[in-house]
Assembly symmetry: C2
Homo-oligomer: 140 residues x 2
Amino acid sequence: MSDLLERLRARGWRMTAQRRVVAEVLAGEHVHLAADEVLERASALLPEISRTTVYNTLGELVALGEVTEVSTIGRAKLYDPNAHRPHHHLVCTDCGTIRDVHPDGDLPAGLPESERFGFTVHAVEVTFRGRCADCRALSG
Amino acid sequence: MSDLLERLRARGWRMTAQRRVVAEVLAGEHVHLAADEVLERASALLPEISRTTVYNTLGELVALGEVTEVSTIGRAKLYDPNAHRPHHHLVCTDCGTIRDVHPDGDLPAGLPESERFGFTVHAVEVTFRGRCADCRALSG
DNA sequence: TCCTACGATGGACACAATCCAAGTCAATAC
DNA sequence: GTATTGACTTGGATTGTGTCCATCGTAGGA
């Protein structure tokens, strides 16, 4: 993830301890953290970091395309640092657990002209909803 | 939409003025309302209706499969009454406008076993993100 | 018409996210 | 190394969305 720090510096980011910590927290695969969880983990590394700074930094990372926001139903937004590898999401409708999935080549085709309503489409997002093994075991 | 009222009554719903009004507000195609907007419009028809009742009724409609919740990024959940016709969504990343789209037959295939991680998948959701004509006209 | 269980009410509460004014500090210039 | 400055950070207040709960009202059956 230190290549991320390099890329950020190259884009003129002022490097601060807070931003470094937020980037550090978001390292890895299959990471999907709510802003609150990022704050919690960042606080463990840098106790004085403020919530506003975490939100600001996450927003900037999203604007730079380094991190993707994952929309959820009725929960806090999740931040997915795996933005450079296209993938879909598999979400448990009970507990909210998210897994990245990489279906082989069945990305939906672009929209036909007749269905675009004048939009310029620049991203497609596929979410599979279901129940994870744990939740099925708990409640049938 | 009065067939909706029929279906609800058939399922043992106690029919009240409040529930009727909420169902009425959700009539039509290409309707995607936040709970707050439902409350606003319902209040116009029945001024004393309470927020809790609107939320309760929406939740019940979702549980019955008559209405679908649409996840958004950074906004309130939207309620989509068009639940009986499978469709995808085209979302403007600037203003949040949503259109229903019906791509011809390019639904993503189910997940291969190896990518299910023990989940039981029961729904696939496809969201196209882009910018609508209005927003492009405004800011290039 | 009366009963009663289900539904509605609204104020308090919880959580997510943003705003703001004031203080701090990374990067640049000297 | 020091001074400078504007971008960054802070934390408390605020907004927005949604839920909880005790109490009241009423739809629909007897």
